[in-house]
């Protein structure tokens, strides 16, 4: 049976009041399996950081439920039990105004049971983190490295990383991805990270969640997601415009291009038996899946808004 590191049910979080109300998270259902590397993807203001803040108990849900290892992260003493098992890198990478060495030493004292000095040294070396640079002189990249070193060396059961690649150069980014895979997923630990770096996340994540406007658009194992999407270019007459598998249709000069979600092979077979010819059938990259889902979601939102305006 799958156990979940993070689970949300109809989770909602609103900011502001009246006409200025913002639905940062709007009925989110998220399932982060334990032991997975879960990438939460989304555009700006999709609700990723708010979701993470709720998972850390830094923000309280307006409605719905969020559980971390089955516990409520917003209420003590469950909150403390959760925090004992979680390493966290916040969005702005600002933890405390200390040199990296002092920050590591301070953080070390909060996790006496799990902290590893060896792992801390390994992260420091591989990310080339300067330990004694005063906080005010630290670049964004070095602040990120400092926060990452703290979180990784904690060896927590769950690592929550909010945009962990901010400010990192390509070499540091590559080292970070290696560290996450080699050292952080051992012993069934879970990594939950939000990012815009789709190409990088595709290298390491085994589960993906795509968020937009506070809702989850798609969630599941990355391999399943990849196999369920396909770009199909067809020629023929009376091609369908509506079908549960069709995500979007792009008419081309002499053909029609479908972006398919769910059972693309069955859809293709149906059409070929009805006389259509497949010109091209290609899988979609994660980046393309992300873009297609976000665009489709946006056009649906616009459609709903215009229907609402007419009504």
């Amino acid at each position: 049976m799958t156990t979940f590191a993070i689970q949300t049910h109809a989770l909602a979080k609103t900011y502001g009041l009246g006409s200025k109300k913002i639905h940062a998270v709007d009925g989110l259902n998220l399932n982060v399996p334990e032991g997975s590397i879960y990438g939460l993807l989304g555009r700006n203001s999709a609700g990723k950081t708010t979701t993470i803040r709720m998972a850390m108990g830094l923000a309280h849900p307006t409605s719905g439920e969020i559980k971390v290892f089955g516990l409520n992260p917003a209420v003590d003493p469950e909150r403390v039990t959760v925090l004992r098992q979680v390493g966290y890198v916040p969005e702005d990478k600002m933890l405390a105004a200390l040199t990296p060495r002092k920050l590591l030493e301070l953080n070390r004292s909060f996790y006496p049971d799990t902290w590893s000095d060896d792992l801390a040294r390994k992260v420091i070396k591989r990310l080339e983190l300067p330990l004694d640079t005063p906080f005010l002189k630290l670049s964004l990249g070095n602040k990120t490295k400092s926060a990452l070193a703290c979180a990784i060396a904690q060896r927590s059961r769950l690592l929550i990383l909010d945009e962990p690649t901010t400010g990192l150069d390509p070499i540091a980014l590559d080292e970070l991805l290696r560290l996450l895979v080699e050292d952080c997923t051992a012993e069934g630990r879970t990594i939950f990270l939000s990012t815009h770096q789709l190409a990088e996340i595709e290298q390491i994540a085994d589960h993906i969640g795509i968020m937009d406007c506070g809702r989850i658009l798609l969630e599941g194992p990355l391999d399943d997601i990849r196999s369920s999407f396909r770009r199909l270019t067809l020629t023929g007459t009376a091609l369908p415009t509506r079908h549960p598998s069709i995500l979007s249709i792009k008419p081309q000069p002499h053909a029609t291009q479908y972006i398919l979600q769910r059972s693309p092979d069955a859809f293709a077979q149906d059409l070929t038996t009805n006389g259509a010819t497949i010109v091209e059938s290609t899988p979609l990259s994660l980046n393309e899946i992300f873009l297609e889902l976000c665009r489709t979601s946006e056009s649906r939102e616009d459609e709903l808004a215009s229907q609402g305006a007419v009504a």
Partner: protein, 327 residues
């Protein structure tokens, strides 16, 4: 007056400034040296906990030790501040053609008169104290850091408040005791030689001095000390409550500290400062509630329970607010 203030400044405040400058320079020197040396990460194992900290978890010990250090710093500052303020009378020139009963009376009057005035200086000290208390609970990165470590909100709250609160009051008490000791060493037990009535030599032109005498003679020093305690407690707890009001977090997180600061200065500090009218006399109903900064007849001591009860209530409300804060 200016000369005596300058002398007191040199004696009492200059060492603090020099120590501060030295500390900053030393810190910068050490930081530059560490940056050059680039030593490996080799932290020392944590020291054995003090006896009274043994029943706590290590994260709790770490956090509480930090706060105790902060409390000790506030103790030292409050002590030094009180000593500075209460030793000012020692540097006052004694009146030549004074109509005062005697020099001892004049000195003791000044000493006692500076006690309530110290409250205003302590107010100013309370503002950074509140900021220190509230920062890890609500403002920015520090709050996020401590609130994402395995510590209960209750523990963070009380560990922040109690060491600083007690440190300040213990510092005030020590500063007063040292000032009295200094007075004793410099001038002897002057309180044994005080007037018991308004001198008959004062004529109708001396109405102001007669009033001073009246205030002086009716002042109760224990009640005055109690008023310092109640006034500061109420100020501290009101500020704390205002600063912890769970203002709904905006999307722009930077708004929150700003709102908190404005509310905290506007709602909190100004009414308290307005308690002190230009002639140094407090509005009567505040005085009745043991919130005053001038000499005169004391209110019934039982009334001191009102600000004490209010302080406890405000701290309790702040405790509830803190759990609702978002950072």
């Amino acid at each position: 007056m200016i000369g005596s203030f300058a002398t007191s400044f040199l004696v009492f405040l200059a060492p603090i400034f020099l120590a501060l400058v030295w500390k900053i320079c030393d810190h910068k020197r050490a930081a530059a040296k560490a940056e050059l040396e680039a030593l490996p990460f080799d932290p020392t194992p944590p020291a054995a906990p003090a006896v009274f900290l043994r029943h706590l978890t290590q994260p709790q010990r770490v956090f509480l030790t930090q706060q105790l250090k902060m409390g000790a710093m506030y103790y030292a500052i409050a002590c030094w501040l009180m000593l500075f303020i209460l030793s000012l009378p020692l540097f006052h020139a004694l009146p030549h053609e004074s109509k005062w009963f005697n020099n001892s009376a004049f000195l003791w009057y000044n000493f006692v008169n500076f006690l309530p005035h110290s409250t205003q200086s302590l107010f100013m000290m309370m503002i950074p104290a509140i900021i220190f208390v509230i920062t890890p609970l609500r403002v920015g990165p520090e709050a996020r850091f401590y609130r994402s470590r395995p510590l209960t909100i209750r523990f963070i709250f009380w560990s922040k408040i109690l060491p600083i609160f007690l440190g300040i009051f213990a510092g005030i008490a020590t500063g007063m005791a040292l000032a009295v000791a200094l007075l004793l060493v410099a001038k002897g037990p002057i309180w044994h030689n005080l007037p018991i009535a308004i001198p008959r030599t004062l004529g109708p032109d001396d109405a102001a001095l007669q009033q001073l005498y009246r205030d002086f003679l009716t002042t109760s020093v224990p009640s005055l000390l109690l008023s310092i305690l109640t006034t500061l407690s109420l100020f501290f707890s009101t500020m704390l409550m205002v600063a912890t009001i769970p203002v709904k977090r905006m999307k722009a997180a930077a708004v929150v500290p700003l709102v908190a600061l404005v509310a905290f200065l506007g709602v909190g500090v100004l009414p308290f400062l307005s308690l002190f009218s230009s002639d140094g006399h407090t509005f009567s109903w505040f005085r009745t509630l043991f919130i005053y900064s001038s000499l005169g007849p004391p209110p019934p001591r039982l009334f001191a329970l009102v600000p004490v009860a209010l302080s406890i209530a405000f701290i309790a409300i702040a405790r509830i607010f803190v759990t609702r804060l978002e950072v």
